[in-house]
């Protein structure tokens, strides 16, 4: 009789962890740290993999001169190698009150755990931030190695939503604490009246490739309205009177799709990626199907 192995975390099953171990983040920009890592740098580096030759200039390290070529043609050439640089994967989980609806925060925690595992298993530096919490934003200091998985999971599980800080202000707060280049995985519903363009610019300028995941609940994707209603904003407690009318919903969907298109454009213009999914989507389908097909992970 086989005794099932204990779960490392409630966020991810052991099976999901095994599957994630075979996957890596696919980064299109080389915003990487100088530290050695498993990602190849754009510039030549100190890895063992040959990349190219170049003319020797004064001051170059003579250890990289190809002496065989020098002996044959009496001119010094320097061998260049791929530089394997360290990637900083920053996980930004929106934990504002709006994320408490329809299991959005739970899916965001699981997705963040998945991205974190991908980073840690890939030998990257991983840090995590909870945006928009009730109190000071909790933060997981940059960490690396498989042994850091436990800390990552503990941090993510401890995130409690309920704050009212908009996501753009949360991003700005994150950037004040963050250093390093790499990938910023922002998981939020992005339902904010604030200026996301500025926040994304700041992320881009900080050397972070934006991986934006928008989570919307089923009631946000396909709302149903009957009669006269008073909507109350979960974060601002503002009221808005709505009366059911046929064209109202079509307009809502029109604006929702426009918002989605705007987010997509903001990300793509900054070499980032954007994905909008429903909180009702199964986690496995999102990670192992959707993200792979969209080329987020390989």
């Amino acid at each position: 009789m086989t005794v099932p192995a204990p779960q490392l975390t409630a966020l991810l099953s052991n099976r999901d962890l095994d599957r994630l171990a075979r996957l890596r983040l696919k980064v299109s920009r080389r915003f990487t740290n100088r530290g050695r890592g498993e990602h190849l740098g754009v510039k030549g580096g100190t890895s063992t993999e040959f990349c190219d030759y170049r003319d020797y200039t004064a001051g170059d390290d003579v250890r990289f001169v190809d002496w065989n070529i020098f002996a044959r043609i009496q001119r010094p050439y320097l061998k260049q190698f791929h530089q394997e640089e360290e990637l900083h994967v920053a996980l930004l989980v929106d934990a504002s009150r709006s994320m408490l609806f329809e299991e959005k925060l739970a899916l965001a925690q699981r997705l963040a755990a998945a991205f974190g595992v991908l980073g840690l298993r890939g030998g990257e530096k991983v840090s995590a931030y909870a945006l928009g919490t009730a109190g000071p934003s909790p933060r997981l200091q940059p960490t690396r190695g498989r042994s850091a998985q436990g800390k990552l999971f503990t941090f993510l599980e401890s995130i409690e939503g309920g704050g009212d800080t908009p996501v753009e202000r949360g991003i700005e707060g994150f950037l004040r604490q963050h250093s390093g280049r790499g990938v910023a995985v922002v998981i939020s519903d992005f339902l904010t009246d604030g200026d996301l363009r500025r926040s994304f610019n700041l992320l881009h300028n900080a050397g972070l490739e934006i991986y934006a995941v928008q989570l919307l609940g089923p009631s946000e994707l396909a709302p149903e309205i009957t009669g006269d209603l008073r909507f109350v904003d979960s974060e601002t407690a503002a009221n808005l009177d709505i009366s059911a009318a046929g064209d109202l919903l079509s307009l809502y969907h029109e604006y929702r799709r426009a918002h989605e298109a705007q987010l997509t454009a903001l990300c793509q213009q900054r070499s980032g990626k954007f994905l909008s999914i429903s909180s009702a989507e199964p986690f496995e389908r999102v990670v192992f199907d959707l993200l792979r097909r969209r080329g987020w992970i390989v």
Partner: protein
């Protein structure tokens, strides 16, 4: 055509719109729904398309629907109607002709005229506005009020449904008089007359109101019996006469006329009837005990009216005339002896009957004998003695009523009377007329011969004694006696018989104050009491047929009632009515359009709006 309103005062109910709007906004309690973010919804509501007038309308559609419903209900309460009559009558008597011609069918298995009238009147009742009242009056030979002035649709419809055709000729004057009487208590200015136009063209009536004469289409081809009588023929036989007539639009037809007695055909004659023909048929009937004869017309083609296809005639028993003449009036007895079927009393060895048909006497006490006709010879009636005295002078007749049945073919010229009646004053003739006397012969200074009808008794008074005149020696004397006998035969019903008409039934020969039960056609049942003379009078007989009268266990007596109306059988329809004051009322053939009430349409629209509101409120918003 703009609608008018009968209850315009209810427009104040529109003021309810104010509290409706106020309460709508005050009591509009929207369910609070917490959502993640208002960001998208704000954008949606800020969209110009959402804020377009139509979208605003849709957002407040519930309020607008409620306003619409209230407005429709208030409009319905204001009782709108479409005016389709030039003049509206708030109180309208409706005179409905139910005479026999109204039972004429338009075609085989078709509708009667009364059915058509009922149909149009039902539409009018349905369209009756709240401030309008109808009073239904049915008239045939007499008129009766079916309902008072009322707006109660059920009462009016029930009265209309219970209306049936009566087999009587129509008399519009009765209906107009009744309408006039109604107008004294509840004034009105218009009367609606619904008829097939089978009415007298001239009405002796001064119209105090306007008449709307609505004429229905006439019935189809019709033939019927218009006269049925019998005359006593020599030898104790009866000559039975039946006259037929047809309608103006009658088509040629064939058939049979049957003469029936106790449901047995005793005679019949085949007929070939053409338009305009009016054949008179005669049948010979042996005398004997009294009998009820039925003449029945059977046609092989369509006949629109059935009530004139049968007629009933009561033929009296054949018997001699009983005459009382004192023995000393030998001239009279001699003249009577030459006549057939006359028994003159007193006779030797023959008991004198208690009742006579004719009494001729110069004794005042004989004038008290019960008889149909009494002829006093040389006796001044007690009530005339103050007006006329008799002097013993000779006189002659100056003038006499040659058209009187008594004096037909009797010439009093050159007859010398040794009694001279003298009037006591110049106003004697007027005084005699007031007493009910008619002067049959006038002498030089006063009346010579008078007659007076008292009930069923005819009294003839010769103010001179024939024995003191040259009259018995004249050829006119036996003619005079024969005229007396004919008059007595006529008065006793022994000479001829006429079929009784529908309308009022009369019969006699019952015990005084006897309770009589009467049964007749169309489930007719009635119990009446005979008067002190044992007569039944004033019994309504609305339907043609054989009525059976049974009095206190006695033998039932049959009395026939027949339509026998040329005007009803001919189905002649007048196009206009002429009244006393030279006023002419033309008939309208197109049905009058009554005002159309709209409240129920508006109320129904309000109900539909309510359903729309409910549906709108309950429906989920359309998903995309």
């Amino acid at each position: 055509m703009l609608p008018a309103f009968t209850s315009l005062g209810n427009a104040w109910l529109f003021a309810l719109l104010v509290p409706l709007v106020v309460f709508y906004f005050l009591k509009l309690k929207r369910p609070r729904v917490a959502i993640p973010s208002l960001m998208l919804w704000r954008q949606v509501l800020n969209d110009q398309r959402v804020n377009s007038p139509f979208q605003r309308f849709k957002r407040n559609l519930l309020l607008l629907l409620q306003i619409l419903i209230l407005a429709l209900l208030v409009l319905a309460a204001m009782q709108p109607f479409l005016r389709r009559e030039a003049a509206r009558a708030h109180r309208l008597p409706v005179l409905i002709d139910i005479s026999a011609s109204m039972g004429a069918l338009d075609h085989a298995h078709g509708n009667t005229r009364l059915d058509e009238v009922k149909r149009s009147l039902r539409e009018r009742i349905d369209g009756l506005l709240p401030d309008q009242e109808l009073c239904l009056v049915a008239f045939g030979k007499t008129a009766r009020r079916l309902t008072p002035f009322t707006n109660n649709h059920r009462e009016l419809r029930d009265a209309l449904d219970g209306l049936t055709v009566e087999d009587v000729p129509s008399d519009i004057e009765e209906a107009l008089r009744l309408a006039q009487a109604l107008g004294r208590t509840e004034p009105f200015d218009r009367v609606l007359l619904l008829s097939d136009g089978n009415l007298p063209t001239q009405a002796n009536f001064e119209l105090p109101f306007q008449i709307d004469f609505q004429k229905t289409a006439p019935g189809g081809s019709n033939f019927g019996i218009v006269a049925f009588s019998a005359r006593r023929a020599p030898g104790g036989h009866w000559q039975v006469f039946v006259q037929l007539a047809g309608s103006a639009n009658a088509e040629s037809s064939t058939g049979t006329l049957e003469l029936r007695q106790q449901d047995k055909v005793i005679a019949h004659e085949d007929l070939s009837l053409t338009r305009g023909s009016s054949p008179r048929l005669a049948f010979d009937l042996a005398g004997g005990p009294g009998a009820v004869l039925e003449a029945r017309l059977r046609l092989n083609d369509f006949d629109s009216l059935t009530s004139d296809d049968s007629a009933w005639l009561t033929v009296p028993a054949t018997r001699p005339l009983t005459v009382y003449v004192p023995d000393h009036l030998a001239g009279y007895r001699h003249a009577l002896a030459a006549l057939e079927d006359v028994n003159v009393f007193p006779q030797a060895d023959t008991p004198t009957p208690a009742v006579f048909d004719l009494v001729i006497s110069d004794h005042e006490e004989d004038m008290t004998k019960p008889a149909r006709v009494r002829c006093a010879i040389g006796i001044i009636p007690p009530d005339v003695r103050s007006l006329v005295t008799v002097e013993g002078k000779s006189s002659q007749a100056i003038d006499w009523r040659r058209d009187s049945p008594l004096l037909q073919h009797v010439s009093l010229r050159d007859v010398v009377f040794m009694d001279q009646p003298v009037s006591t004053g110049v106003t004697t003739e007027d005084a005699l007329a007031q007493l009910g006397y008619e002067i049959l012969a006038q002498g030089e200074h006063g009346p010579l011969m008078l007659d007076k009808r008292t009930g069923e008794t005819l009294s003839i008074a010769l103010l001179f004694h024939t024995d003191r005149s040259t009259l018995p020696y004249r050829v006119g004397f036996p003619i005079f006696v024969s005229n007396l006998v004919q008059t007595a035969l006529h008065e006793s019903g022994l000479a001829e018989a006429e079929a009784g008409h529908t309308g009022v039934l009369s019969a006699e020969g019952f015990n005084p104050n006897a309770s009589c039960s009467i049964s007749g056609p169309a489930n007719y049942r009635r119990t009446v009491q005979a008067d002190e003379q044992g007569r039944l009078t004033g019994i309504p007989a609305p339907h043609a047929g054989d009525y059976t009268i049974t009095a206190g266990g006695g033998l039932p007596q049959s009395v026939g009632a027949s339509l026998l109306s040329l005007s009803e059988t001919s189905l002649a329809a007048v196009d206009q009515l002429q009244f006393n004051d030279q006023l002419t009322v033309a008939a309208a053939t197109a049905p009058a359009k009554s005002d159309r009430t709209l409240w129920w349409i508006i109320a129904f629209a309000a109900f539909l709006a309510l359903l729309v509101e409910w549906w709108w409120f309950q429906r989920p918003a359309r998903a995309v």
